[in-house]
Each structure stands twice: as C-alpha cells, then as structure tokens.
C-alpha cells in the first residue's frame, strides 16, 4: 500500500474520535458553558467500551455503555457547575482527571489485551472505483454514521428552531431567560450530549480504530478536540474540516516514520500538538485584529 492509499484509507477513522468529541463540545460551548473534561470523558468511554466488547463481543453494547457512562460523568460536571455554581474550569479539569483515573482503574486487568474491530463495509459500485474505491470509500459502519450525524447536526444547528434556541442561550442567557426559555435545562441537555459524544469517541478509539487496551491510549486527543472547537470557530463544517486535517497529520506522522524520514519519532509525534498550538495562536491573533 502506498503512502497516499494509506492516508486515503485511514484518515476518516483517525479523525473520527476527534470529530465526535469536538462536535459534542461545540454544542456545549454554544450554550455558553465550557467543559474541559473531554480527555477524561473519552478515556472512561474507551475503557468501558473495551471491557464491554471484550466480554460480550458486541460493539453495540460497548458503544451504548460508553455513551451512558460518559454522560453520567458529564452530568457530574453539570451538577457542579449549573447546580452548585462551581467554577467551570476547575470542575471541568476535575472531572477530566476523574475520568482518566477511573479508566486506568477499570482497565488495569485488561492492559494489552486485544479484541476484534469492526469490519469495513464493501459497498457495491462505490468500492469498485479505482484508487478511492477500496480506500476512502471502504469504511466501517461508524464512519458512515458519523458523517450522517455531522450533516444532521449542521442541519439542526443552522436550520431549526432548536439550533436557534441553542445559539440564543449561548449568546445572552439572561435575555433567553427573560423571554421564558429554561436556560438551565437546555445547558444540562447540551452537557449530556457532549458527554455522550465523548463516550462514543473514546469507544471508537479503543474498540475500532486500535482495538486494544492500553492505559493512556486517548493520548491527548481530548485536548486536541477542545482546540478544534476554537479552530473551527464553533461552526460544524469547519470543526469537521479541522478534525480531518488532524487525522491526516497523525497518519502522516506514521507514514513518515515508516518511510524512514530522518527526524526522530518524538519530533514527528509532537507534530499534531505543535500544529494545534500554532493554529490557536493564528486564530486568536486574527480575532484581535493583529493579522
């Protein structure tokens, strides 16, 4: 397989955890909250999904359990911030650490075990197209569902009253309250949605993308997803584009290593993170009118 084919085949799957977590967080931030616990919520989702799939062999069970558990963790954040009025930065970091800790605890006895991933689906006609057929267009079911979900989310946020309400709550919560919207409830639902998305993102990472359990396997993807929301300026399409970009980057790093580029692997591994920092600097400079 050539480098290009490798990229075409793997980019979507590599982007998927980033995409789902970032879209979930984007909705949370659109309602005016900030949940920094993505990394932890993804990690606990990954651990729970792996354990469930290991014992039941069913990815459906794994994904559902991961979404549920991460939602519970997100609800803890919601309780702290909306109910107890805790500082959202501190609360987000705290549940992030909690999620990481729990994932290590639950995953301890499963360290280095492997499971079966999901099959790639051959779609007649599409898979026969040269070059992109067997690569880009041959993906597992979750990828196709995620693409459909991204389009659906864009439609809800930009074309429906629900999207309008979410935007209104995020822009001016007091005004939304004064015209009679249940701001707290809307935020609660958004946080739950963000949690579920992180859970699914983690589940995909541990049971499909690399179907094995290793402690710390989320490896900063929660933080990159967080940065992607800013990078995408809270717009579905741009966030998705950003996720793809970082998917390519992380694969490109592997390709480069395999082809024996004369750089130490540590430098290549740090590339996505460096690019994240660069992007954030560029965006915030542009926003403050300096570029």
């Amino acid at each position: 397989m050539s480098g290009l084919e490798f990229l075409l085949a793997g980019t979507l799957a590599a982007s998927l955890p980033l995409l789902l977590a970032a879209l979930g967080e984007m909705v949370v931030e659109k309602t005016g909250l900030l949940n920094l616990g993505l990394e932890g919520m993804m990690a606990i989702g990954a651990a729970i999904a792996f354990i469930c799939v290991y014992h039941t062999g069913s990815h459906v069970v794994g994904f559902l359990a991961a979404a549920l558990v991460s939602t519970v963790i997100a609800m803890l954040f919601a309780f702290l911030v909306i109910g107890a009025r805790a500082n959202e930065v501190a609360a987000g970091l705290a549940i992030g650490v909690l999620g990481l800790g729990l994932s290590a605890l639950f995953g301890k006895t499963y360290e280095s075990l492997t499971i079966k991933g999901l099959p790639k689906i051959d779609i007649p006609v599409l898979s026969d197209i040269p070059v992109i057929g067997p690569t880009l267009l041959t993906q597992d079911i979750v990828v196709w569902l995620a693409i459909a979900g991204t389009v659906a989310l864009w439609w809800v946020l930009n074309r429906t009253k629900l999207g309008l309400i979410i935007a209104a709550v995020g822009e001016n919560a007091d005004a939304a309250r004064s015209i009679g919207y249940p701001v707290m409830m809307i935020r609660l639902v958004a946080v739950a949605f963000g949690g579920a998305m992180c859970g699914i993102a983690g589940a995909y990472a541990s049971t499909v993308y690399t179907p094995l359990w290793a402690d710390g396997m989320i490896a900063g993807r929660g933080w990159i997803a967080l940065a992607l929301v800013v990078f995408g300026t809270w717009q579905t399409g741009r966030v998705a584009f950003g996720a793809l970009l970082f998917g390519i980057l992380s694969l490109g790093e592997l390709t480069a290593q395999a082809m024996g580029v004369g750089l130490p692997s540590q430098v290549l591994s740090s590339l996505p993170y460096l690019v994240t920092i660069l992007m954030l600097v560029v965006i915030s400079r542009r926003r403050s009118g300096l570029i």
Binding site: L164, A167, A168, N172, A175, I179, G180, Y181, R287, G289
Partner: protein, 499 residues
C-alpha cells in the same frame, strides 16, 4: 369606576436581604391608559416591574388581573395573561436576524412572521427590516424590534422600562406616536421613567415611587416638572446655578486625525477624529453608546495604544504610544463608564481602591503600602464627596452605583488633574448625587482643569459643557457651541442625518 382595573396590586412587598425594595405598593392600571411609574434610581421601579412580569415573586401582597387574583411564577405566566415587557437593556440576540429573534418567542414560519413584522411596522410606525441582523440595527430600531415582538403576543398591558433613555430625540417622538396609537387601540401601558417632561407629555396617570413606597398618585399633566421632582426626591430640586466660564486657557488634550480599526466584530472603528480641549473648559461628547465611545475612551486613557504617538497629545506631549500610567503622570485622570471592573475593583476595599490610582500621593514607601496614608486619603475622599458608606474598609462592590461614582470621581479629583476624561458621569445615579457630581465638574473647570465628558444624557451636556461634539458610527462631528446649538440639531448628528 365601575369596571375593575386591568391590573391591580394590593400591598405588594419585596425584600432583598436587608433592602426593602418594595413596601406595601398599591397600583391600578386601566385599559387605554398610559400610566407612568416615576422614581429615582433605587426607588424600586425595576423590582416592581419584575414582580408584575413574573421574574420575581412578591413576599406578600396580592396581584389582580381583571379582578381575579393571579400568581405569576415566571414570565411566561405573565405573557399568557397578556403582559408584555420591553426591557431597558434589550433582550435581543445580536448574532441573529430580526425574524429569528422574533421566532424565538412567537411560533410561526419565518416568512409569515416577516410579513407580520412588516404589517405591524406599517400600522404603528415601527418600520424595521425583518431580515436585518440585529447587531447592524440602531438602538431605536432594536427597540422597535422589542416592541413588535411584544405586540405579536397581543398583550393587553405593555410595560416599557426607561424606553427613552437610549434614544435620540427624533426617535423619542416616534416612540410616543406609536404608544399613543396603541393607547387608542385600548392597550394599557406602564411607562417607567425618571424623565419628568416626557411623563407630563405622554402619561395620564403617574404613580411616584420613593424608597420602595408609593408617595403620590397624580395626573402628571396638572403638575409642573418641579413639583413632580419634589414628589420624586422628597425635597426641593437642588439648583446648579454656576458662574459663567472664564475664557479657556492653553491646550491640554488634542486628538489629531485619530483613527483606529475596530477590535471585535461588534466594535466600532474610529475615523479621523480631531479634537482640541483647553484648560478651564468642558467639552461634551454626545451620542448613543456603542458608536465608538468605549473605543475612544480607551484610546485617550491609554488602555488601547494609538497607531502613531502624534495622534494623541496630552499637555503638549505626544502620548499615543504611552500606557495609562505614563499618561496619568502627565496630569491625566480618567473616570470610566464601567464603575465595577474599570473604575474600581469590586472585591477590594475603598482604601485599596484609592491606592490603585492615587499611589503616587505618598502612599508607598520602598514598594510597601503605607496603610495609614491610604486610609487617610480615602477618609478625606469619603467626607469631601459625601460618599455614604461605613468607612474606608467597605467593599467597593457592595456600594450603590451613585455612591461608588462619587467615590471614584472624588478619588480622581483629589489627584488635582490637569486633564480629565469622565465617561457617563451620572449613569444610574440618583438626581441628588447627579447634581452634586455636575457641580463638582464645574468647580474643577473653574479651577482650570480641562474636562472631556462622554454622556448619553443630553440635558446634562447642555448644562455643563461649553462645546459639544457628537460621536456617530466612529465619526466625530465638528464642535458645536452649546449656547447656539439645539437638542434637535444634536439629535440629527446622533442619527447620522448630519455629519
């Protein structure tokens, strides 16, 4: 009257902590009447409206709607009865269009709503483009959107909270015409204001609030402004008779073609602003907030740096590149419009707040704070400027707006500045304190200080300024002599009809 009142309040009380915001309020509003609720800031007007609109619930007392007792647990309860409210600070969403804003409250397809908006606009003189983005609208247009949004709910009672405080005179005329048309349709209107002339012109009944209690029910058309004011503040109106200004002296602040790009999406770019301010004179900058006032104030104070040093001169020195501290060292002082956060740190004591700008007044010794000097300065300020507070240790954030403003202004005046920038000096300040603040500014002028005042209150500017400029969309009008211009002319500049 045989028919029961549309809305009746009986002995309604509300207390926040130790503050009795409303005490045994009785109020009757009838259909087809424009009823004024008159009172100073802090008299309890806003609390009363929140009780009527269901935002807050009374501790005791009863509210009757068409003779039936009602409990309003939330705004939607009030809306269901037919109560609409136009807020003082608009509850619109800037990133959405007019139709989108309306559709958040009114069910219906966007196209139908747009048609209804246009229809109501024609009927009541509330024209506005349904598809415009709200952040592009002028303040007057935004208010029209708020009113239209209320009218689409078919209210029987419309509450307007200080509706004219943000409008240029032309828009005030237009609003009054709209309200009269609504009155003729049989709607009841509660008009909250502290502007006496407007109430006399528009309203047929007035309830006067003072210290949370109703102190009078009058027909405002039968009283002059002076006797209404007396009801409102409980004593004679203070006079601001002051000596005429002496001819101004040397130049102290100068803006030379000051331009600056906008900093954020909703900011305003400043465009070639020229201004000369001399000692012994007060120049006023009129205009509706959001037309570049904050940007210009930040550039003059040094919070934002100008692109070229020569764009701003203080005491004859080019200072565009200097920060606030360096400008203050030249004799510049600044009273910002945001009292909490810019003028004072809410969590800090008054004494520590003194230190922030007055540290050069012998309050430091080798980098250590001299607490005694800090407190002495603060005590002097409290006394000289009639700040009502327990003492220098009181937290700034716990003070009323008027008292804190007196403290901040006093602190800056005690620095004996040569040039002073005062932004919105009497926003949210009661009449008594506002008069005192204006008198202080005139005293400063007579002592030779050069003062630049940003204000939305046109009466205030005419009272203390010798020259006026108008800031509209980042563009500054030529200087107008206060003795020769009229509020109407200023108003034309405010809406951009003249530049």
């Amino acid at each position: 009257m045989s028919q029961p009142a549309l809305l009746r309040l009986s002995k309604v009380s509300k207390r926040y902590g130790t503050v009795q915001a409303n005490h045994h309020i009785d109020l009757e509003v009838h259909s087809g009447s424009i009823h004024a609720v008159l009172g100073e800031n802090g008299a309890g007007k806003s609390t009363l409206m929140k009780l009527i609109y269901g935002v807050e619930q009374p501790d005791s007392g009863h509210i009757y709607w068409n003779g039936q007792e009602v409990h309003l647990a939330r705004p939607s309860d009030a809306q269901a009865l037919g109560i609409g409210m136009v807020f003082q600070h608009f509850s619109l969403f800037e990133t959405l269009s007019v139709v989108q804003n309306v559709s958040l409250m009114i069910p219906g397809k966007p196209a139908e709503l747009a048609q209804k908006i246009t229809g109501l606009g024609d009927q009541f003189g509330l024209s506005v483009d349904p598809h415009a983005m709200v952040h592009r609208l002028s303040v007057g247009e935004r208010q029209r959107v708020e009113i239209i949004r209320c009218l689409l709910l078919n209210p029987k009672l419309l509450i307007l909270d200080e509706p004219t405080s943000v409008l240029p005179p032309q828009s005030v005329r237009r609003l009054f015409e709209t309200l009269r048309k609504l009155q003729a349709e049989g709607m009841a209107i509660l008009f909250i204001s502290h502007k006496l002339d407007e109430i006399r012109e528009l309203c047929d009944t007035a309830s006067v609030l003072r210290g949370g209690e109703v102190t009078g029910r009058v027909d405002p058309r039968e009283h002059d402004a002076r006797s209404l004011a007396q009801l409102m503040i409980g004593r004679e109106m203070p006079n601001v008779a002051h000596a005429a200004p002496r001819p101004p002296g040397e130049e102290r602040l100068r803006l030379n073609a000051l331009s600056h790009p906008r900093a954020s999406r909703f900011g305003t770019a400043l465009d070639g602003i020229d201004l000369k301010l001399r000692s012994g004179e007060i120049i006023g900058i009129a205009g509706i907030s959001g037309n570049g006032q904050q940007e210009l104030a930040a550039l003059i104070s040094g919070e934002t740096r100008a692109h070229e040093p020569g764009m701003i001169e203080i005491m004859g020195k080019k200072v565009g590149h200097l920060g606030p501290m360096a400008r203050r060292k030249l004799g510049f002082a600044f009273v910002p419009e945001e009292r909490l956060g810019r003028g004072a740190v809410p969590e800090m004591s008054l004494a520590d707040n003194s230190l922030l700008t007055a540290h050069s007044r012998n309050m430091l010794s080798r980098g250590f704070i001299k607490r005694a000097a800090e407190r002495a300065f603060t005590r002097e300020c409290i006394q000289a400027f009639d700040v009502r507070t327990p003492g220098p240790d009181a937290e700034a954030g716990a003070m009323s707006g008027g008292n804190l403003q007196k403290f901040i202004l006093g602190r800056e005046i005690m620095l004996n500045p040569d040039v002073m920038l005062v932004s919105q000096p009497t926003w949210g300040v009661d009449i008594g304190a506002a008069t005192a603040i204006r008198r202080r500014l005139l005293d400063m002028r007579d002592q030779g200080c050069a003062i630049l005042v940003f204000s939305e209150e046109m009466d205030e500017l005419f009272e203390i300024c010798s020259k006026l400029h108008v800031l509209h969309k980042g563009h500054l009008s030529p200087a107008l002599d206060a003795a020769e211009t009229t509020p109407q002319e200023i108003g034309r500049y405010m809406i951009g009809a003249e530049t």
